[in-house]
Amino acid sequence: MAAPTVILDNGAYHVKIGLASDKDPRHIPNCISKSKSERRKQFIGNQIEDCRDLSALYYMLPFQKGYLVNWDVQRQVWDYMFGKELLGLECPDTTAVVTEPYFNFSSIQEAMNEIFFEEYQFKALLRINAGTLSAHKRKSENPEHRCCLIVDSGYSFTHIAPYYNSQKVAEAIFRVNVGGKLLTNHLKEIISYRQLHVMDETYVMNQVKEDVCYVSSQFYKDMEIAKLKGKENTVCREYVLPDFHTVKRGFVKEDGSKQKPNEQIVRMNNERFAVPEILFHPSDISIQEKGISEAIVHSISATPKEMHPHLYRNIVLTGGNCAFPGVKERVEKDVRSLAPVEYDVQVTLPPNPVTYAWEGGKTMTESKEFSKLTVSKKQYEEEGQNICFDKFDV
């Protein structure tokens, strides 16, 4: 039997982890959380599922601004995931594929090599950008496309990365400093100011965001609709917040149903689409940067001209923020209006934009080239950090 390979898409919000032989990865929150109701316990990763009261959860996160800085927390999450409770890996017999953000700092890269080879003692390692795995997946599905443009919009930021023959065009990769965390925090802020204090309710408000927010393709029209009263306002939703006693999970209130006593309701009106809009117009909250659609055009224009038509034709949306309803239509509409008319614009949203990179990792391990991409523990012991810096391009 072949040695097992574990694929670890190490996101700042969720880790997507599973063996290459698994069909789908598991989603594990990449954090340690503390609940005010359970004073003696810390919840690592998905242990939080056992916690009944998810109000005012306190988070300890390994990532800051998208880069791994809190190693103590990260290693507790890894220990837990690799350990018996979850995957039960025999690290010395296992190859690991681990994702890192674009332009990862060299000090973090060094630490990664050291931890994976010296602490966990993995048999072999491949460190790679999640977007590269996505590009690989796309190529395997549509081999006729030479180029693809990966949009990876995650918790901390959004990257736009063009690929040619599954190789990234590094000088044309750009970062938009808007991610899911900023959106959730902004939603908390405006709801706290306009309606109800929810600044401590990151977990709950993130769920509200995922349940009712969407990307509008007719922004000002939706603003007009949101101003209407009663039934004419088709945008507005009343959302019942969980109290973790009678309501375990928040939900959208059905039209016309009466408010029950003690029910806490948040009225989601223009917030539904104005919050995700920040991805497309960071300047709406005074972040003076181009938004995703403009960034796509900006990135493509930084590649050699021959690639332009191919990149416009193969834009792939990945990451948690691409799960908002309407993202694909909006990107298509915007890019179409910004791109030169002679180019075809095609945008693809994979069935699961969150696990797409992980699936790409799975595909990659099945290719003949895979073992050439990894560094073995033996090589690391002989040649040290250098061989990792030569081989891994993150």
Binding site: Y58, E110, H281, G291, H298
Partner: protein, 188 residues
């Protein structure tokens, strides 16, 4: 390199012809301070009392953007427990959780070499002679599209600017709310 007058460290910067700290100081300073067309009586009265200068406005905006990066807004619910733990001799590490001896050693070793804040990592990147592209060079420039204006109170498109602090508002009702709640109260 020019250092942002509001912060001594960059979070990201360098876009060919300009240097921008993470909190857009330079950008803000370029913005015209007054754009409003009409003023209400209440605003005029207020404007005579006090108008925030652009430096304070920039500082305030920076604080708002920083808040959007925060992981928690409440206190650590176990803060007192950690203190208790530290008093016990068997848990004399500065880790948050009691761990095995072996792990602790490993952790300490790690702390010295790799424990760096995000700012330290960015500074290292600036000092290193790493060829671009890198973290610092891959940031997005300004959008050429004009900034859109939304009411700071209700979130709908707005036509007016508060004279005192520069916030946007859409109607007298929202202006009233703004003046009663946020206008100059954040500036202490």
């Amino acid at each position: 390199m020019v250092t942002c007058p509001l912060s001594t460290s960059y979070t990201h910067c360098v876009d060919l012809d300009r240097v921008v700290c993470g909190w857009y100081w330079c950008e803000i300073m370029k913005m015209p301070a007054k754009e409003q067309t009409r003023e209400s009586g209440r605003q005029k009265e207020l404007a005579q009392r006090r108008v925030l200068d652009s430096f304070t406005r920039a500082k305030r905006l920076r604080r708002q953007l920083e808040a959007l990066e925060q992981d928690n807004f409440q206190e650590d619910p176990h803060a007192n427990l950690v203190l208790l733990k530290k008093k016990l001799p068997q848990f004399d590490s500065n880790e948050d959780t009691p761990t095995t001896k072996k792990r602790k050693k490993r952790g300490d070793h790690f702390k010295q070499r790799f424990r760096k804040t995000f700012h330290m990592l960015v500074e290292e990147e600036q000092l290193s002679m790493n060829e671009p592209p890198n973290y610092l060079t891959c940031c997005m420039p300004h959008s050429p599209a004009p900034q859109r204006k939304f009411c700071a109170v209700c979130g709908f498109p707005s036509n007016y600017t508060c004279v005192a602090c520069g916030a946007r508002y859409c109607c007298t009702k929202c202006l009233g709310t703004h003046l009663d709640t946020r206008c100059l109260k954040w500036t202490a």
